[in-house]
Symmetry: C2
Subunit: 302 residues, 2 copies
Amino acid sequence: MNSLLVTGSIGIDTVHTPTGSADSVLGGSAIYFAAAASFQGPVRLVAAVGDDFPAELEAPFHRFDIDLAGLEKRAGSKTFRWTGRYLENMNDRETLSVDLNVLGEDGPPVPEAYADTRTVFLANAHPAAQLGLRRSFPDAELVVADTMDLWISIARDELMELLKNVDGLVLNDAEAFQLTEERNVVRAGRKILEMGPAFVVVKKGEHGAVLVHRDGEGALPAFPAADVVDPTGAGDSFGGGMMGRLAATGDRGFGGIMTAMAAGTVVASFTIEAFSLAALESLTREELAERERAYVSMLDVG
Amino acid sequence: MNSLLVTGSIGIDTVHTPTGSADSVLGGSAIYFAAAASFQGPVRLVAAVGDDFPAELEAPFHRFDIDLAGLEKRAGSKTFRWTGRYLENMNDRETLSVDLNVLGEDGPPVPEAYADTRTVFLANAHPAAQLGLRRSFPDAELVVADTMDLWISIARDELMELLKNVDGLVLNDAEAFQLTEERNVVRAGRKILEMGPAFVVVKKGEHGAVLVHRDGEGALPAFPAADVVDPTGAGDSFGGGMMGRLAATGDRGFGGIMTAMAAGTVVASFTIEAFSLAALESLTREELAERERAYVSMLDVG
Protein backbone atom coordinates (compact mmCIF):
# COMPACT_ATOMS: atom_id res chain seq x y z
CA MET A 1 0.00 0.00 0.00
CA ASN A 2 1.33 3.42 -0.95
CA SER A 3 0.77 4.95 2.48
CA LEU A 4 1.08 8.70 3.17
CA LEU A 5 1.77 10.14 6.60
CA VAL A 6 2.01 13.70 7.88
CA THR A 7 3.42 14.95 11.15
CA GLY A 8 2.80 18.53 12.15
CA SER A 9 0.70 20.89 14.16
CA ILE A 10 -2.97 20.98 15.01
CA GLY A 11 -4.06 24.23 16.52
CA ILE A 12 -6.79 26.62 17.37
CA ASP A 13 -6.56 29.68 15.13
CA THR A 14 -7.99 33.15 15.33
CA VAL A 15 -7.74 34.88 11.98
CA HIS A 16 -8.38 38.47 10.94
CA THR A 17 -8.55 39.47 7.29
CA PRO A 18 -9.48 42.78 5.64
CA THR A 19 -12.98 41.41 5.09
CA GLY A 20 -13.73 39.28 8.13
CA SER A 21 -12.60 37.29 11.15
CA ALA A 22 -12.82 33.78 12.54
CA ASP A 23 -12.41 33.13 16.26
CA SER A 24 -10.96 29.90 17.66
CA VAL A 25 -11.33 27.73 14.58
CA LEU A 26 -9.51 24.54 13.64
CA GLY A 27 -6.07 25.09 12.11
CA GLY A 28 -2.49 23.85 12.01
CA SER A 29 -0.29 22.52 9.24
CA ALA A 30 -1.10 18.84 9.74
CA ILE A 31 -4.87 19.10 9.48
CA TYR A 32 -4.80 21.32 6.35
CA PHE A 33 -2.29 18.93 4.79
CA ALA A 34 -4.22 15.80 5.73
CA ALA A 35 -7.59 17.15 4.62
CA ALA A 36 -6.19 18.23 1.23
CA ALA A 37 -4.29 14.97 0.70
CA SER A 38 -7.26 12.80 1.70
CA PHE A 39 -9.04 13.54 -1.59
CA GLN A 40 -6.46 11.26 -3.21
CA GLY A 41 -6.27 8.48 -0.62
CA PRO A 42 -6.03 7.75 3.10
CA VAL A 43 -3.68 9.83 5.26
CA ARG A 44 -2.00 8.89 8.50
CA LEU A 45 -1.75 11.75 11.00
CA VAL A 46 0.81 12.07 13.79
CA ALA A 47 0.08 15.10 15.95
CA ALA A 48 -0.76 16.14 19.48
CA VAL A 49 -3.42 18.38 20.99
CA GLY A 50 -4.08 19.24 24.63
CA ASP A 51 -6.90 18.05 26.80
CA ASP A 52 -8.53 21.42 26.22
CA PHE A 53 -9.20 20.55 22.58
CA PRO A 54 -12.90 21.31 21.99
CA ALA A 55 -15.09 18.43 20.84
CA GLU A 56 -16.74 20.67 18.24
CA LEU A 57 -13.42 21.09 16.41
CA GLU A 58 -13.07 17.32 16.00
CA ALA A 59 -15.78 16.98 13.35
CA PRO A 60 -13.45 17.64 10.36
CA PHE A 61 -11.16 14.81 11.46
CA HIS A 62 -13.97 12.42 10.70
CA ARG A 63 -15.18 14.16 7.56
CA PHE A 64 -11.95 13.26 5.72
CA ASP A 65 -10.20 9.95 5.09
CA ILE A 66 -7.70 10.47 7.91
CA ASP A 67 -6.34 7.69 10.15
CA LEU A 68 -6.37 9.08 13.69
CA ALA A 69 -4.36 6.36 15.48
CA GLY A 70 -1.46 8.81 15.72
CA LEU A 71 -3.48 11.72 17.13
CA GLU A 72 -2.57 12.14 20.77
CA LYS A 73 -4.80 14.03 23.18
CA ARG A 74 -2.29 14.78 25.90
CA ALA A 75 -3.55 15.03 29.47
CA GLY A 76 -2.34 18.12 31.30
CA SER A 77 -1.32 19.92 28.11
CA LYS A 78 -2.92 22.68 26.10
CA THR A 79 -3.47 22.89 22.36
CA PHE A 80 -1.31 25.13 20.15
CA ARG A 81 -2.94 28.52 19.49
CA TRP A 82 -2.18 31.08 16.78
CA THR A 83 -3.68 34.50 16.10
CA GLY A 84 -2.81 36.34 12.93
CA ARG A 85 -3.89 39.15 10.66
CA TYR A 86 -3.65 39.34 6.86
CA LEU A 87 -2.70 42.60 5.22
CA GLU A 88 -4.74 44.34 2.53
CA ASN A 89 -3.09 42.31 -0.28
CA MET A 90 -4.25 39.01 1.34
CA ASN A 91 -0.77 37.58 0.68
CA ASP A 92 1.30 38.94 3.59
CA ARG A 93 0.40 38.38 7.23
CA GLU A 94 1.54 39.19 10.73
CA THR A 95 1.38 36.95 13.76
CA LEU A 96 -0.40 38.66 16.65
CA SER A 97 0.13 35.91 19.21
CA VAL A 98 1.43 32.36 19.49
CA ASP A 99 1.04 29.91 22.35
CA LEU A 100 3.12 26.84 21.52
CA ASN A 101 1.67 24.83 24.41
CA VAL A 102 1.88 21.11 23.49
CA LEU A 103 4.10 21.92 20.51
CA GLY A 104 6.77 23.03 22.97
CA GLU A 105 6.82 19.59 24.62
CA ASP A 106 8.01 16.20 23.36
CA GLY A 107 6.44 15.15 20.07
CA PRO A 108 3.67 12.59 19.88
CA PRO A 109 4.67 8.91 19.68
CA VAL A 110 4.51 7.26 16.26
CA PRO A 111 2.21 4.19 16.34
CA GLU A 112 4.08 0.97 15.60
CA ALA A 113 1.66 0.18 12.82
CA TYR A 114 2.93 3.27 10.97
CA ALA A 115 6.54 2.07 10.70
CA ASP A 116 5.84 0.74 7.21
CA THR A 117 4.86 4.18 5.84
CA ARG A 118 6.27 4.80 2.37
CA THR A 119 5.64 8.52 1.88
CA VAL A 120 6.23 10.96 4.74
CA PHE A 121 5.67 14.71 5.00
CA LEU A 122 7.39 16.43 7.91
CA ALA A 123 5.35 19.61 8.27
CA ASN A 124 6.99 22.62 9.84
CA ALA A 125 8.53 21.91 13.26
CA HIS A 126 11.94 22.25 14.93
CA PRO A 127 14.32 20.49 12.51
CA ALA A 128 15.70 18.32 15.35
CA ALA A 129 12.18 17.05 15.98
CA GLN A 130 11.70 16.53 12.22
CA LEU A 131 14.95 14.57 12.06
CA GLY A 132 13.87 12.37 14.98
CA LEU A 133 10.57 11.66 13.24
CA ARG A 134 12.31 11.01 9.95
CA ARG A 135 14.26 8.23 11.67
CA SER A 136 10.99 6.60 12.71
CA PHE A 137 10.46 5.70 9.05
CA PRO A 138 13.62 3.93 7.90
CA ASP A 139 11.83 2.30 4.96
CA ALA A 140 10.19 5.47 3.63
CA GLU A 141 10.75 5.91 -0.10
CA LEU A 142 9.90 9.60 -0.21
CA VAL A 143 10.39 12.06 2.65
CA VAL A 144 9.64 15.74 2.19
CA ALA A 145 9.98 18.46 4.83
CA ASP A 146 8.63 21.98 5.27
CA THR A 147 10.39 24.59 7.37
CA MET A 148 10.08 28.26 8.41
CA ASP A 149 12.09 31.43 8.99
CA LEU A 150 12.38 30.83 12.75
CA TRP A 151 14.33 27.56 12.33
CA ILE A 152 16.54 29.02 9.62
CA SER A 153 17.50 31.69 12.15
CA ILE A 154 17.88 29.71 15.36
CA ALA A 155 18.44 26.05 14.32
CA ARG A 156 20.42 26.26 11.10
CA ASP A 157 22.79 23.40 11.98
CA GLU A 158 19.93 21.03 12.73
CA LEU A 159 18.17 22.15 9.55
CA MET A 160 21.30 21.43 7.49
CA GLU A 161 21.44 17.97 9.03
CA LEU A 162 17.77 17.41 8.21
CA LEU A 163 18.34 18.45 4.60
CA LYS A 164 20.86 15.63 4.20
CA ASN A 165 18.14 13.18 5.18
CA VAL A 166 15.13 14.22 3.08
CA ASP A 167 14.31 13.86 -0.60
CA GLY A 168 12.51 17.16 -0.95
CA LEU A 169 12.04 20.51 0.79
CA VAL A 170 9.01 22.79 0.63
CA LEU A 171 9.33 26.41 1.77
CA ASN A 172 8.23 29.88 0.74
CA ASP A 173 10.26 32.34 -1.31
CA ALA A 174 11.26 34.60 1.60
CA GLU A 175 12.50 31.53 3.50
CA ALA A 176 14.44 30.27 0.47
CA PHE A 177 16.13 33.67 0.20
CA GLN A 178 16.91 33.69 3.92
CA LEU A 179 18.38 30.19 3.81
CA THR A 180 20.64 30.87 0.82
CA GLU A 181 21.24 34.64 0.83
CA GLU A 182 20.11 34.69 -2.81
CA ARG A 183 17.39 36.92 -4.27
CA ASN A 184 16.39 34.75 -7.22
CA VAL A 185 14.20 31.70 -6.69
CA VAL A 186 16.05 29.46 -9.15
CA ARG A 187 19.46 30.34 -7.74
CA ALA A 188 18.16 29.84 -4.20
CA GLY A 189 16.70 26.46 -5.14
CA ARG A 190 19.93 25.31 -6.75
CA LYS A 191 21.87 26.22 -3.60
CA ILE A 192 19.42 24.20 -1.50
CA LEU A 193 19.92 21.18 -3.77
CA GLU A 194 23.59 21.35 -2.82
CA MET A 195 22.49 20.94 0.80
CA GLY A 196 21.00 17.51 0.09
CA PRO A 197 17.47 17.29 -1.31
CA ALA A 198 16.78 16.08 -4.84
CA PHE A 199 14.13 18.77 -5.29
CA VAL A 200 12.89 22.00 -3.73
CA VAL A 201 9.42 23.46 -4.09
CA VAL A 202 9.30 27.22 -3.47
CA LYS A 203 5.81 28.48 -2.61
CA LYS A 204 4.96 32.04 -3.67
CA GLY A 205 1.37 32.32 -2.41
CA GLU A 206 -0.83 34.12 -4.95
CA HIS A 207 2.09 34.00 -7.42
CA GLY A 208 2.22 30.21 -7.61
CA ALA A 209 5.17 27.91 -7.03
CA VAL A 210 8.56 27.06 -8.51
CA LEU A 211 10.18 23.63 -8.71
CA VAL A 212 13.95 23.35 -8.65
CA HIS A 213 14.81 19.73 -9.42
CA ARG A 214 18.04 17.97 -10.29
CA ASP A 215 16.59 17.59 -13.79
CA GLY A 216 15.56 21.24 -14.28
CA GLU A 217 13.34 24.10 -13.17
CA GLY A 218 9.63 24.70 -13.57
CA ALA A 219 7.03 27.23 -12.49
CA LEU A 220 3.26 27.11 -12.09
CA PRO A 221 0.82 29.95 -11.45
CA ALA A 222 -1.77 29.96 -8.70
CA PHE A 223 -5.32 29.29 -9.88
CA PRO A 224 -6.68 32.78 -10.64
CA ALA A 225 -9.07 33.50 -7.76
CA ALA A 226 -11.33 36.51 -7.35
CA ASP A 227 -12.68 35.61 -3.93
CA VAL A 228 -10.03 35.03 -1.30
CA VAL A 229 -11.62 34.79 2.13
CA ASP A 230 -8.73 33.39 4.22
CA PRO A 231 -5.31 32.30 2.90
CA THR A 232 -4.52 30.35 6.10
CA GLY A 233 -3.56 26.79 5.29
CA ALA A 234 -3.10 27.39 1.56
CA GLY A 235 0.54 26.32 1.66
CA ASP A 236 -0.19 23.26 3.79
CA SER A 237 -3.09 22.29 1.52
CA PHE A 238 -0.77 22.71 -1.47
CA GLY A 239 1.66 20.35 0.22
CA GLY A 240 -1.12 17.87 0.94
CA GLY A 241 -2.43 17.86 -2.61
CA MET A 242 1.10 17.52 -3.97
CA MET A 243 2.15 14.70 -1.64
CA GLY A 244 -1.17 12.92 -2.09
CA ARG A 245 -0.52 12.83 -5.82
CA LEU A 246 3.12 11.77 -5.36
CA ALA A 247 2.06 8.96 -3.03
CA ALA A 248 -0.47 7.81 -5.61
CA THR A 249 1.79 7.97 -8.67
CA GLY A 250 5.24 7.29 -7.20
CA ASP A 251 6.64 9.52 -9.96
CA ARG A 252 9.42 11.65 -8.52
CA GLY A 253 10.75 12.80 -11.89
CA PHE A 254 10.52 16.44 -12.94
CA GLY A 255 7.21 16.00 -14.76
CA GLY A 256 5.75 13.89 -11.99
CA ILE A 257 6.45 16.55 -9.39
CA MET A 258 5.13 19.33 -11.64
CA THR A 259 1.89 17.37 -12.07
CA ALA A 260 1.71 16.84 -8.31
CA MET A 261 2.27 20.57 -7.75
CA ALA A 262 -0.67 21.24 -10.06
CA ALA A 263 -2.85 19.01 -7.87
CA GLY A 264 -1.64 20.93 -4.81
CA THR A 265 -2.33 24.27 -6.48
CA VAL A 266 -5.90 23.32 -7.27
CA VAL A 267 -6.87 21.96 -3.86
CA ALA A 268 -5.28 25.03 -2.21
CA SER A 269 -7.45 27.26 -4.39
CA PHE A 270 -10.49 25.83 -2.57
CA THR A 271 -8.95 26.18 0.91
CA ILE A 272 -8.74 29.98 0.59
CA GLU A 273 -12.41 30.34 -0.32
CA ALA A 274 -13.53 30.09 3.32
CA PHE A 275 -12.18 30.30 6.87
CA SER A 276 -10.54 27.25 8.43
CA LEU A 277 -11.39 23.96 6.68
CA ALA A 278 -14.93 24.92 5.71
CA ALA A 279 -14.33 24.92 1.94
CA LEU A 280 -12.53 21.57 2.01
CA GLU A 281 -15.29 20.10 4.19
CA SER A 282 -17.93 20.85 1.57
CA LEU A 283 -15.72 20.02 -1.43
CA THR A 284 -16.52 16.94 -3.49
CA ARG A 285 -14.06 14.87 -5.50
CA GLU A 286 -16.02 15.80 -8.61
CA GLU A 287 -15.65 19.55 -7.98
CA LEU A 288 -11.95 19.09 -7.32
CA ALA A 289 -11.45 17.05 -10.50
CA GLU A 290 -13.41 19.62 -12.53
CA ARG A 291 -11.22 22.51 -11.38
CA GLU A 292 -8.09 20.46 -11.98
CA ARG A 293 -9.24 19.84 -15.55
CA ALA A 294 -9.84 23.59 -15.97
CA TYR A 295 -6.37 24.37 -14.59
CA VAL A 296 -4.66 21.85 -16.87
CA SER A 297 -6.60 23.21 -19.84
CA MET A 298 -5.73 26.82 -18.92
CA LEU A 299 -2.03 25.88 -19.04
CA ASP A 300 -2.30 24.11 -22.39
CA VAL A 301 -0.64 26.84 -24.48
CA GLY A 302 0.97 24.63 -27.13
CA MET B 1 -1.60 41.12 -45.01
CA ASN B 2 -1.88 40.78 -41.26
CA SER B 3 0.14 43.89 -40.46
CA LEU B 4 1.32 44.78 -36.96
CA LEU B 5 2.21 48.32 -35.90
CA VAL B 6 3.56 49.76 -32.67
CA THR B 7 3.69 53.37 -31.56
CA GLY B 8 5.74 54.26 -28.52
CA SER B 9 9.00 55.58 -27.23
CA ILE B 10 12.57 55.15 -28.37
CA GLY B 11 15.07 56.37 -25.85
CA ILE B 12 18.57 56.37 -24.54
CA ASP B 13 18.69 54.46 -21.25
CA THR B 14 21.19 54.35 -18.43
CA VAL B 15 20.52 51.34 -16.23
CA HIS B 16 21.97 50.32 -12.89
CA THR B 17 21.37 46.85 -11.44
CA PRO B 18 22.82 45.14 -8.36
CA THR B 19 25.33 43.38 -10.61
CA GLY B 20 26.20 45.92 -13.31
CA SER B 21 25.44 49.06 -15.29
CA ALA B 22 24.88 50.14 -18.88
CA ASP B 23 25.41 53.74 -19.91
CA SER B 24 23.47 55.41 -22.74
CA VAL B 25 22.15 52.28 -24.42
CA LEU B 26 19.18 51.85 -26.76
CA GLY B 27 15.84 51.60 -24.98
CA GLY B 28 12.20 52.63 -25.07
CA SER B 29 8.94 50.70 -25.26
CA ALA B 30 8.61 50.72 -29.04
CA ILE B 31 11.98 49.23 -29.87
CA TYR B 32 11.72 46.42 -27.31
CA PHE B 33 8.22 45.67 -28.56
CA ALA B 34 9.19 45.76 -32.23
CA ALA B 35 12.32 43.66 -31.79
CA ALA B 36 10.42 40.98 -29.86
CA ALA B 37 7.47 40.97 -32.29
CA SER B 38 9.71 40.83 -35.36
CA PHE B 39 10.57 37.17 -34.70
CA GLN B 40 7.02 36.39 -35.83
CA GLY B 41 6.70 38.79 -38.77
CA PRO B 42 7.35 42.34 -39.96
CA VAL B 43 6.57 45.23 -37.61
CA ARG B 44 5.73 48.83 -38.47
CA LEU B 45 7.21 51.35 -36.09
CA VAL B 46 5.85 54.86 -35.45
CA ALA B 47 8.16 56.78 -33.13
CA ALA B 48 10.33 59.89 -32.94
CA VAL B 49 13.89 60.53 -31.85
CA GLY B 50 15.85 63.77 -31.79
CA ASP B 51 18.63 64.83 -34.09
CA ASP B 52 21.03 63.87 -31.31
CA PHE B 53 20.26 60.19 -31.79
CA PRO B 54 23.63 58.45 -32.11
CA ALA B 55 24.27 56.52 -35.29
CA GLU B 56 25.73 53.61 -33.31
CA LEU B 57 22.36 53.03 -31.61
CA GLU B 58 20.66 52.57 -34.98
CA ALA B 59 22.17 49.16 -35.72
CA PRO B 60 19.42 47.15 -33.96
CA PHE B 61 16.77 48.83 -36.11
CA HIS B 62 18.28 47.07 -39.09
CA ARG B 63 19.00 43.79 -37.32
CA PHE B 64 15.26 43.07 -36.94
CA ASP B 65 12.40 42.91 -39.43
CA ILE B 66 11.17 46.43 -38.62
CA ASP B 67 9.70 48.85 -41.16
CA LEU B 68 11.26 52.24 -40.38
CA ALA B 69 9.10 54.46 -42.63
CA GLY B 70 7.39 55.77 -39.50
CA LEU B 71 10.57 56.56 -37.57
CA GLU B 72 10.98 60.32 -37.44
CA LYS B 73 14.34 61.92 -36.69
CA ARG B 74 13.15 65.35 -35.64
CA ALA B 75 15.42 68.32 -36.32
CA GLY B 76 15.92 70.59 -33.33
CA SER B 77 14.64 67.98 -30.86
CA LYS B 78 16.39 65.70 -28.43
CA THR B 79 15.84 62.01 -27.82
CA PHE B 80 13.99 60.74 -24.74
CA ARG B 81 16.37 59.73 -21.94
CA TRP B 82 15.75 57.56 -18.89
CA THR B 83 18.01 56.56 -16.01
CA GLY B 84 16.89 53.94 -13.52
CA ARG B 85 18.08 51.57 -10.87
CA TYR B 86 16.80 48.08 -10.04
CA LEU B 87 16.54 46.99 -6.43
CA GLU B 88 18.14 43.87 -4.99
CA ASN B 89 15.17 41.68 -6.01
CA MET B 90 15.60 42.67 -9.70
CA ASN B 91 11.81 43.13 -9.90
CA ASP B 92 11.26 46.62 -8.46
CA ARG B 93 12.97 49.71 -9.80
CA GLU B 94 13.25 53.43 -9.22
CA THR B 95 13.58 56.15 -11.84
CA LEU B 96 16.61 58.35 -11.17
CA SER B 97 16.00 60.83 -14.00
CA VAL B 98 13.75 61.38 -17.00
CA ASP B 99 14.16 63.82 -19.87
CA LEU B 100 11.00 63.58 -21.99
CA ASN B 101 12.49 65.74 -24.78
CA VAL B 102 10.80 64.77 -28.07
CA LEU B 103 8.20 62.73 -26.19
CA GLY B 104 6.91 65.98 -24.72
CA GLU B 105 6.21 67.39 -28.19
CA ASP B 106 3.64 66.44 -30.84
CA GLY B 107 3.71 62.78 -31.81
CA PRO B 108 5.30 61.57 -35.03
CA PRO B 109 3.12 61.56 -38.17
CA VAL B 110 1.69 58.21 -39.26
CA PRO B 111 2.75 57.37 -42.83
CA GLU B 112 -0.22 57.16 -45.20
CA ALA B 113 0.85 53.69 -46.26
CA TYR B 114 0.18 52.51 -42.69
CA ALA B 115 -3.52 53.41 -42.70
CA ASP B 116 -4.37 49.80 -43.61
CA THR B 117 -2.76 48.37 -40.47
CA ARG B 118 -4.86 45.59 -38.96
CA THR B 119 -3.21 45.07 -35.57
CA VAL B 120 -2.06 48.07 -33.51
CA PHE B 121 -0.24 48.30 -30.20
CA LEU B 122 -0.33 51.70 -28.49
CA ALA B 123 2.65 51.50 -26.17
CA ASN B 124 2.66 53.67 -23.08
CA ALA B 125 2.06 57.38 -23.81
CA HIS B 126 -0.37 60.10 -22.71
CA PRO B 127 -3.81 58.54 -23.30
CA ALA B 128 -4.92 61.56 -25.34
CA ALA B 129 -2.00 60.91 -27.71
CA GLN B 130 -2.86 57.20 -27.77
CA LEU B 131 -6.48 58.04 -28.62
CA GLY B 132 -5.37 60.31 -31.46
CA LEU B 133 -3.17 57.57 -32.86
CA ARG B 134 -5.93 54.99 -32.44
CA ARG B 135 -8.09 57.15 -34.76
CA SER B 136 -5.37 56.97 -37.43
CA PHE B 137 -6.29 53.30 -37.87
CA PRO B 138 -10.04 53.19 -38.43
CA ASP B 139 -9.88 49.75 -40.02
CA ALA B 140 -7.77 48.11 -37.35
CA GLU B 141 -9.22 44.79 -36.20
CA LEU B 142 -7.28 44.55 -32.96
CA VAL B 143 -6.06 47.53 -30.93
CA VAL B 144 -4.30 47.01 -27.61
CA ALA B 145 -2.91 49.74 -25.35
CA ASP B 146 -0.41 49.88 -22.51
CA THR B 147 -0.48 52.56 -19.82
CA MET B 148 1.32 53.59 -16.63
CA ASP B 149 0.77 54.95 -13.14
CA LEU B 150 1.41 58.57 -14.18
CA TRP B 151 -1.55 58.68 -16.61
CA ILE B 152 -3.84 56.90 -14.16
CA SER B 153 -3.05 59.73 -11.75
CA ILE B 154 -3.10 62.81 -13.99
CA ALA B 155 -5.12 61.84 -17.09
CA ARG B 156 -7.79 59.46 -15.83
CA ASP B 157 -10.60 60.95 -17.94
CA GLU B 158 -8.59 60.60 -21.14
CA LEU B 159 -7.60 57.07 -20.14
CA MET B 160 -11.25 56.14 -19.56
CA GLU B 161 -12.09 57.47 -23.03
CA LEU B 162 -9.22 55.47 -24.52
CA LEU B 163 -10.45 52.30 -22.82
CA LYS B 164 -13.78 52.62 -24.67
CA ASN B 165 -11.84 52.52 -27.93
CA VAL B 166 -9.45 49.60 -27.54
CA ASP B 167 -9.92 45.84 -27.57
CA GLY B 168 -7.33 45.08 -24.95
CA LEU B 169 -5.29 46.71 -22.19
CA VAL B 170 -1.86 45.65 -20.93
CA LEU B 171 -0.61 47.00 -17.60
CA ASN B 172 1.21 45.82 -14.51
CA ASP B 173 -0.39 44.69 -11.27
CA ALA B 174 0.33 47.85 -9.28
CA GLU B 175 -1.23 49.90 -12.09
CA ALA B 176 -4.29 47.64 -12.24
CA PHE B 177 -4.76 48.09 -8.50
CA GLN B 178 -4.32 51.88 -8.80
CA LEU B 179 -6.85 52.10 -11.65
CA THR B 180 -9.53 50.05 -9.88
CA GLU B 181 -8.82 50.43 -6.16
CA GLU B 182 -8.89 46.63 -5.91
CA ARG B 183 -6.16 44.48 -4.36
CA ASN B 184 -6.86 41.27 -6.27
CA VAL B 185 -5.74 40.88 -9.88
CA VAL B 186 -8.87 39.08 -11.07
CA ARG B 187 -11.21 41.58 -9.44
CA ALA B 188 -9.16 44.47 -10.83
CA GLY B 189 -9.24 42.96 -14.31
CA ARG B 190 -13.00 42.45 -14.19
CA LYS B 191 -13.50 46.09 -13.23
CA ILE B 192 -11.34 47.17 -16.17
CA LEU B 193 -13.46 45.06 -18.52
CA GLU B 194 -16.42 47.18 -17.42
CA MET B 195 -14.49 50.22 -18.69
CA GLY B 196 -14.48 48.90 -22.24
CA PRO B 197 -11.84 46.37 -23.29
CA ALA B 198 -12.65 42.76 -24.10
CA PHE B 199 -9.54 41.58 -22.30
CA VAL B 200 -6.91 42.79 -19.87
CA VAL B 201 -3.42 41.37 -19.46
CA VAL B 202 -1.88 42.09 -16.06
CA LYS B 203 1.91 41.80 -16.04
CA LYS B 204 3.54 40.69 -12.77
CA GLY B 205 7.22 40.70 -13.77
CA GLU B 206 9.04 37.67 -12.36
CA HIS B 207 5.67 36.30 -11.22
CA GLY B 208 4.21 35.99 -14.73
CA ALA B 209 0.98 37.41 -16.11
CA VAL B 210 -2.77 37.09 -15.66
CA LEU B 211 -5.43 37.28 -18.38
CA VAL B 212 -8.87 38.58 -17.54
CA HIS B 213 -11.06 37.96 -20.57
CA ARG B 214 -14.79 38.14 -21.14
CA ASP B 215 -14.67 34.34 -21.39
CA GLY B 216 -12.70 33.71 -18.19
CA GLU B 217 -9.45 34.16 -16.34
CA GLY B 218 -6.04 32.58 -16.80
CA ALA B 219 -2.54 32.85 -15.36
CA LEU B 220 0.91 31.97 -16.65
CA PRO B 221 4.23 31.89 -14.80
CA ALA B 222 7.36 33.63 -15.99
CA PHE B 223 9.96 31.31 -17.50
CA PRO B 224 12.13 30.31 -14.51
CA ALA B 225 15.35 32.27 -14.96
CA ALA B 226 18.51 32.03 -12.87
CA ASP B 227 20.45 34.76 -14.64
CA VAL B 228 18.66 38.10 -14.78
CA VAL B 229 21.03 40.80 -16.00
CA ASP B 230 18.60 43.65 -16.78
CA PRO B 231 14.79 43.50 -16.58
CA THR B 232 14.38 46.68 -18.65
CA GLY B 233 12.10 46.08 -21.62
CA ALA B 234 10.78 42.74 -20.35
CA GLY B 235 7.20 44.01 -20.28
CA ASP B 236 7.47 45.62 -23.72
CA SER B 237 9.06 42.47 -25.14
CA PHE B 238 6.25 40.44 -23.60
CA GLY B 239 3.77 42.73 -25.37
CA GLY B 240 5.66 42.37 -28.65
CA GLY B 241 5.77 38.60 -28.51
CA MET B 242 2.10 38.47 -27.56
CA MET B 243 0.92 40.88 -30.26
CA GLY B 244 3.16 39.27 -32.87
CA ARG B 245 1.43 35.97 -32.18
CA LEU B 246 -2.03 37.56 -32.16
CA ALA B 247 -1.32 39.29 -35.49
CA ALA B 248 -0.20 35.98 -36.93
CA THR B 249 -3.10 33.85 -35.67
CA GLY B 250 -5.96 36.33 -35.48
CA ASP B 251 -7.31 34.30 -32.54
CA ARG B 252 -8.67 36.68 -29.92
CA GLY B 253 -10.48 33.99 -27.95
CA PHE B 254 -9.38 33.09 -24.43
CA GLY B 255 -7.13 30.26 -25.56
CA GLY B 256 -5.67 32.30 -28.40
CA ILE B 257 -4.64 35.09 -26.07
CA MET B 258 -3.20 32.66 -23.50
CA THR B 259 -1.08 31.09 -26.25
CA ALA B 260 0.02 34.55 -27.37
CA MET B 261 0.92 35.43 -23.77
CA ALA B 262 3.09 32.31 -23.67
CA ALA B 263 4.96 33.56 -26.75
CA GLY B 264 5.42 36.92 -25.05
CA THR B 265 6.64 35.27 -21.86
CA VAL B 266 9.29 33.30 -23.69
CA VAL B 267 10.73 36.13 -25.77
CA ALA B 268 10.82 38.36 -22.67
CA SER B 269 12.85 35.68 -20.89
CA PHE B 270 15.62 36.33 -23.40
CA THR B 271 15.42 40.13 -23.13
CA ILE B 272 16.39 40.07 -19.45
CA GLU B 273 19.53 38.01 -20.06
CA ALA B 274 21.54 41.06 -21.18
CA PHE B 275 21.45 44.85 -21.11
CA SER B 276 19.46 46.74 -23.73
CA LEU B 277 18.59 44.65 -26.82
CA ALA B 278 21.78 42.61 -26.84
CA ALA B 279 20.12 39.26 -26.08
CA LEU B 280 17.42 39.77 -28.73
CA GLU B 281 20.05 40.84 -31.26
CA SER B 282 21.87 37.53 -30.95
CA LEU B 283 18.72 35.40 -30.61
CA THR B 284 17.79 33.05 -33.44
CA ARG B 285 14.29 31.87 -34.37
CA GLU B 286 15.44 28.34 -33.60
CA GLU B 287 16.54 29.22 -30.06
CA LEU B 288 13.27 31.06 -29.47
CA ALA B 289 11.22 28.12 -30.77
CA GLU B 290 13.20 25.68 -28.64
CA ARG B 291 12.56 27.61 -25.41
CA GLU B 292 8.90 28.00 -26.33
CA ARG B 293 8.65 24.23 -26.71
CA ALA B 294 10.31 23.81 -23.31
CA TYR B 295 7.87 26.30 -21.74
CA VAL B 296 4.83 24.59 -23.27
CA SER B 297 6.13 21.22 -22.10
CA MET B 298 6.82 22.55 -18.58
CA LEU B 299 3.16 23.61 -18.35
CA ASP B 300 1.80 20.28 -19.58
CA VAL B 301 0.60 19.00 -16.21
CA GLY B 302 -2.36 16.93 -17.41
